[in-house]
Amino acid sequence: MTNFDHLAEQMDQIVARYPKSRSAVMPLLHLLQSDQGAVTMEGISVIADRLELTTAEVTAVASFYTMYKRRDVGRHHIGVCTNTLCAVLGGDAVYDAIAQRLSAGHNESTADGQFHLERIECQAACTHAPVMTVDWEFMDNQTPSSAVEVIDALARGDRVESTRGPVIRDFAATEHTMAFPDDGLAGEGTPVDAIMLAGLTVAGELNMTAPKPSSSAQSKEDHS
């Protein structure tokens, strides 16, 4: 039986966050996944004990959400969006290139445990298509070759920076961020990129601004 004492304090902190303890089940699953590389039966059992739930109740939750993995993900989770927009803009080719490079298919891990490949659904980054993620950090605007380069760099242990986020850590670290979101990395990288500023840039070029409030609006507000 694995010992989970090292997580006890963090589990307590997560449970304390919520008005009702059962709400902690999702962050606890993230925490245990960070620790174990997957949602294991032992992890489920620890959570069930902590929240006074049955293991079936925790299993029911764990198996509902795509991000909780039943098998060990390994060091890096690689996601490629193959939903319509990313797919037609090149996501299918990016996926194929990575699959070929890794000799792994959807929801499969490489033999060396370095990578786990998944076709992912829309990442809320359609403006940055085709989108890839490494340990869920954005790797926007990929081409097949750029994606493979990312994989190769990761395989070499090189420093790889998210296109809109921090330097890539590993899957376990991101899962820990899910459980403890204020991870100290919010200032890393350049998360606001030219695409997010596209409208602001055009507006600047065209001297377009939103109208400022008139004094009458201000005074009306003061009365309310």
Partner: protein, 797 residues
């Protein structure tokens, strides 16, 4: 047309609605599907179940409501005044919506009806036959799963048949309080399942099979055994405990093939426990098939006339010195026959049905407060109660329907449950109950303290609220002063008092007079009016009835008798079983009326085989005092009842107690009715002074254990609770014991080794199951609850 649920329904609570152009007035808040049902309009449904919260998941019951753009689920919409509802009968929209859902439901459903247990009684099949398409439009590959998977040793799951109605999972969560069966995965892969480490070992698991609207859940016991149209069904009453469940017994070619919970809103609603559902193969196992007589020290088969003749002569020879011991399995009619036979044919009052832990105090308690009392407190009283206090009674193990009813009352009707018990059990937690920790043996003192004026015990205050109920278990007979204190507590607080015995026949036997000092209907033997009423009916002179109350308790009765009639007694139920067996083995004539071979029939002089309840009609009286009559389900081994044997014996002894016919006996019992005259006063035994030091033994029988009528049911036994010792962390720590490790529990008479679990248990107390595999406290430790035991780490020395 007005459909009102009760006569007290006031006009303001009713609303006018139109269903399929018919005006109806119904209580506000009624679900559309119920309104239609009551009008005789069947809206098809799969997820809807009247005892489960609406979920509106299957979408089969879509109907049209005027002014609402989309079809609405009839199972989840409550009626509002002026609502115009159209079902599939008058609405093409509803009809089309339903047929669309039907097509989707059948999409991935296998065409395996010919080999499916549910075929022939399957709501999905019926609906498909009545309104499904003849041909599928789906040409793809159906979803398949590995099949079946065992979600417990008792229940198998064929996931490809499941329509995700969630009836089973909602039952587990909402009714049983055992959320160990859940919906897993998502979308088209959604499936019912259990955690990898925990099977669906709920005492109520079998209900999920019954409410499954398809054949996804089946039992190992019934799977592939029968077709519904091969079954002959008989309404029966469960013989396993005093809950009084109404059952349906299904028989195929003369054999009981399965049992289902039958709908009785006043008692078990539509549920029962797994023991009642699955433990019935004892009916066929190890039965005594012909009369036996002892010759040269050995039992040999004999003809009925020969056996009756020997029995009659044996009894006649001991005239006046015959004892009668009857156990908890007897029907009310049979118990009455023993009561009558003892007094009329044997001229004895040495009769006791309590083949278990018993005391004189208990007999007095029962005579004063329980025997022959009219119905109540009832299940409905529990629903309506402000507070219910349990003492010496663990409903989940000892009367499971009481648990289900109390649980619902606690969750939905704000009934507060209290338990004076050695441990905070899972059952109490399910009822969100309040635990009043009590070392075993101290129950009397705890109640006595609370009944005194000025007591500030919270449960005592709870009992003083209007509608409060005090429920005491049969186990309190083993605690001196406990039943006296309970009687005083009820009297002084105004709470209603209920006595919950463990076995199905106890209350009926008590009411029938199968206890010394008591004639049928709770009549005191020594009361002249009572004697007159009974002797008139029995056709004897009042002074022919025994004048004084006889002996009590199986051992005193057996020891002082020259002949003993024993019926339905299992010595393992009795802490004094060993002494009883010794007494019966002595130089006495022993007549055994028995269904199964057992230790007592083995040493009897004459053994007369009698029918089990499936083979005969009869009545059990449940803990409420409610008569639960049942009919004959099978012809089986024998149709001869105890009553019939006693009638024949009486004839052979030139006495007459009637024909022993069930209808005749029921008529006599009805004629006698309840005694309304004076009764014995309640006992006033003082609580024993608290014993000093030592670790106290707490124990009761688990629902599923080594009980005789559960034998030969390995699948059922596989769902039983593990055999383990339970104590509090503090008590364990003080003795150097750790969770999960083996501990040895011992008394001067013996020892047991079993794993330890830590839980909420009273201090200096260890709980053991009373009669489970590897742990029988009477046989292994010679102990009863409240006794001092030693617990040390590790296995036997």
């Amino acid at each position: 047309m007005t459909i009102a649920s009760g006569s007290e329904q006031t006009q303001t609570d009713l609303v006018d609605v139109v269903v399929d152009d018919i005006n109806v007035r119904v209580p506000k808040g009624t679900l559309v599907i119920r309104v239609a049902e009551q009008m005789g309009v069947e809206i098809p449904r799969f997820c809807d179940h009247p005892l489960l919260d609406p979920v509106a998941a299957c979408r089969m019951c879509l109907i049209e409501i005027d002014g609402v753009p989309k079809p609405q689920p009839a199972c989840a919409i409550t009626v509002a005044d002026g609502m115009k509802i159209r079902t599939q009968r008058t609405s093409p929209v509803a009809e089309k919506a339903q047929s669309g859902v039907m097509e989707f439901l059948l999409l991935n459903h296998p065409l395996d009806c010919p080999i499916c247990d549910k075929g022939g009684e399957c709501p999905l099949q019926n609906q498909a036959m009545s309104s499904g398409r003849g041909e599928t439009r789906f040409e793809g590959k159906k979803r398949t799963f590995e099949k079946p998977i065992a979600i417990s040793s008792q229940i198998l799951l064929d996931r490809e048949r499941c329509v995700s109605c969630a009836r089973c999972t909602r039952f587990a969560d909402q009714i049983a309080g055992d959320p160990m069966l859940e919906l897993l995965e998502r979308g088209a892969q959604q499936q019912v399942g259990v955690a990898d480490d925990a099977p669906f070992n709920s005492y109520f698991s079998g209900n999920t099979i019954q409410i499954c609207p398809v054949g996804a859940l089946t039992s190992t016991l019934y799977r592939f055994r029968s077709r519904p149209f091969d079954l002959v069904s008989t309404p029966t009453t469960c013989e396993h405990c005093a809950s009084g469940c109404s059952l349906r017994t299904d028989v195929r070619r003369g054999e009981v093939t399965r049992r289902l919970a039958w709908d009785d809103p006043e008692v078990n609603e539509e549920w029962n426990c797994d023991k009642g559902r699955f433990a019935f193969r004892y009916i066929r196992q190890d039965r005594i098939e012909s009369p036996l007589v002892r010759e040269d020290g050995r039992l040999r088969p004999a003809s009925w006339p020969e056996a009756l003749d020997i029995a009659a002569r044996g009894l006649a020879a001991a005239q006046g010195r015959v004892g009668v011991l009857t156990g908890g399995r007897l029907t009310a009619e049979d118990a009455y026959s023993y009561a009558k036979f003892a007094r009329v044919a044997l001229r004895t009052d040495d009769i006791d049905f309590r083949a278990r832990m018993a005391s004189d105090e208990e007999a007095q308690f029962l005579a004063a407060l329980v025997a022959g009392q009219p119905l109540g407190p009832t299940y409905a009283d529990l629903d309506a109660a402000s507070n219910v206090v349990l003492v010496g009674f663990e409903p989940e193990d000892e009367s499971p329907i009481v648990l289900l009813r109390l649980r619902r009352a606690a969750l939905k009707a704000n009934t507060r449950v209290w338990s004076i018990s050695a441990s905070l059990t899972g059952g109490l937690a399910k009822m969100q109950g309040t635990w009043v920790p009590c070392q075993p043996g101290a129950e009397a003192q705890v109640m006595d303290d609370a009944q005194k004026d000025g007591s500030d015990d919270a449960f005592g205050a709870a009992l003083r609220t209007p509608g409060a109920v005090l429920l005491v278990g049969e186990r309190l007979a083993g605690i001196p002063g406990a039943l006296s204190a309970a009687a005083a507590l009820a009297r002084n607080t105004g709470a209603r008092l209920g006595w919950v015995p463990r076995r199905a026949g106890e209350r009926g036997a008590l009411d029938a007079g199968a206890l010394s000092g008591l004639l049928p209907g709770g009549r005191p033997l020594t009361d002249p009016a009572a004697r007159r009423e009974v002797s008139d009916l029995w056709g004897v002179q009042a002074d022919e009835l025994p004048r004084y109350a006889g002996r009590r308790g199986s051992v005193p009765i057996a020891q002082s008798a020259d002949a003993v009639i024993v019926a339905g007694v299992d010595p393992v139920d009795d802490p004094q079983g060993e002494q009883l067996m010794a007494a019966l083995a002595g130089d006495r004539f022993v007549l055994s009326l028995e269904t199964h071979h057992g230790p007592i029939s083995e040493l009897a002089d004459v053994v007369l085989p009698v029918a089990v309840d499936a083979e005969r009609a009869g009545t059990y009286v449940d803990w409420e005092g409610r008569s639960r009559s049942f009919g004959t389900a099978i012809s089986g081994v024998t149709t001869v009842t105890d009553s019939r044997v006693l009638a024949m014996l009486a004839d052979a002894m030139d006495e007459s107690i009637g024909r022993g016919d069930v209808m005749e006996l029921r008529a006599e019992l009805a004629t006698l009715g309840h005694w309304t005259g004076d009764r014995m006063s309640a006992p006033d035994v003082r609580p024993a002074p608290p014993a000093a030091g030592g670790l106290r033994l707490a124990s009761w029988r688990l629902l599923l254990d080594l009980g005789r009528m559960q034998q030969g049911e390995p699948h059922l036994a596989g769902t039983a609770r593990p055999t383990e010792a339970v104590m509090s962390a503090a008590t364990a720590a003080s003795r150097g014991l750790t969770e999960g490790s083996l501990v040895t529990v011992s008394t001067p008479d013996g020892s047991l080794t079993l794993p330890l679990r830590l839980d909420e248990v009273a201090h200096d107390t260890v709980w053991l199951p009373m009669h489970s595999p590897g742990c029988s406290i009477v046989q292994d430790l010679g102990a009863v609850p409240g006794d001092v035991v030693e617990v040390v780490p590790g296995g036997p020395r």
